[in-house]
Symmetry: C2
Subunit: 222 residues, 2 copies
């Protein structure tokens, strides 16, 4: 069960604390629960109100429409999903350091995203399910990827390529390969299945090895 503090930190994007009344937090909590479980279209505002112990009018006092309620949940969720909290930590310390190490870089990235996914399964389910139907959500994704993620990753991978530490593939192919492998693993182990992952370290090691060997230049061997 989510509490007010969780909702609060979820909506916090620019570090400015978000002020929430108890009822507003209850609305968001139940909206997230139901959107994740039944989907946005199949969840009624009356059901959210009932579960949150709130009059239906209260929802529309805070959110002009049902879609505004969805976007209030999804937008900060995407920001936190796509732009890791640890951005400074990782991009500064690991990513921008001279001694770029693909393995170490991957390890930080994977563990960070695993811990985020673990804490936000419902939110991620909502985003995955609704992104197909709402162009606004797609736009948020596109903006973040194009302006923040892609340029940084591209720069670093190109640098690795120039140093001969990476296969000479088109950069987009390399990025897709890494993302497919990592996200495929996370999706399978933390979203699709529900049993806890026991030997997490071992499994992450496998993923890293697969990517590492896949992207290894032909003339060397790690």
């Amino acid at each position: 069960m989510m509490d007010k503090a969780y909702i609060q930190q979820l909506l916090e994007v620019d570090k400015e604390p978000v002020k929430l009344t108890e009822k507003k937090a209850a609305i968001l909590t139940k909206a997230i629960e139901n959107f994740a479980k039944y989907g946005y279209a199949a969840t009624s505002t009356s059901e959210i109100a009932k579960q949150a112990g709130v009059a239906e009018g209260t929802i529309f006092r805070h959110y002009p429409s049902k879609k505004d309620l969805l976007m209030a949940i999804v937008k900060p969720g995407i920001l936190q999903l796509a732009v890791p909290y640890f951005a400074e930590q990782m991009i500064e310390e690991v990513f921008h350091s001279e001694e770029v190490d693909l393995e170490g870089l991957l390890r930080v990235f994977i563990y960070n995203r695993i811990s985020f996914v673990k804490k936000n399964v419902q939110m991620i389910r909502i985003i995955l399910q609704e992104v197909a139907f709402h162009p606004e959500i797609q736009q948020v994704f596109k903006d973040i990827f194009v302006t923040k993620i892609y340029p940084t990753v591209k720069e670093r991978l190109e640098s690795l390529q120039q140093k001969g530490k990476l296969k000479e593939l088109p950069i987009d192919t390399s990025i897709r390969f890494i993302l497919s492998t990592v996200l495929g693993f996370i999706f399978h182990r933390y979203i699709l299945t529900t049993e806890p992952v026991l030997n997490e370290e071992q499994e992450v090691d496998y993923v890293i090895t697969l990517i590492f060997h896949g992207l290894q230049p032909n003339h060397t061997k790690g």
Copy 2:
């Protein structure tokens, strides 16, 4: 635009030709279009009837409920998606031959799935979007994977491992790695984006190389 012949072959699972009236085909066509575009829950039966040029009662003459209509579309779709039409061709000729070649095997698999996805983007969109909300759909998936796909693939990969042609990873990790890479590529290039893939052969080659090198045992080099 879909025609009756397309719908007919889509529903054909056991090679027995499915008999369809014009109106029934129109209902299925418009249902697929709308479910793919707006989602199952956000599509009304009245809208389907209107677009198909049919009375709303006609839908319920053929399908007892809206959900039955969805399942009539989705179930054969999953069967065709998960159990490749070329099953005999591939599994017999390539998969069960003594000279097992991971690269050739992957190539046949990838091209086959690409051509299927190209022809059935809408159907695949529906399945991806609705699988989360309908346990029946999940069960269909699970059954097919557990009984048909997993055992065959497992057997072949283990055989490759024993011959020293594959990394000694847990078999599930290898399967997930291959599926993530292949499906990640197909999803990105044929479902997520709409522009036609120009240098398809080249891109498929990259995917195969990445998987091949990723799964290459440590002591040899391809």
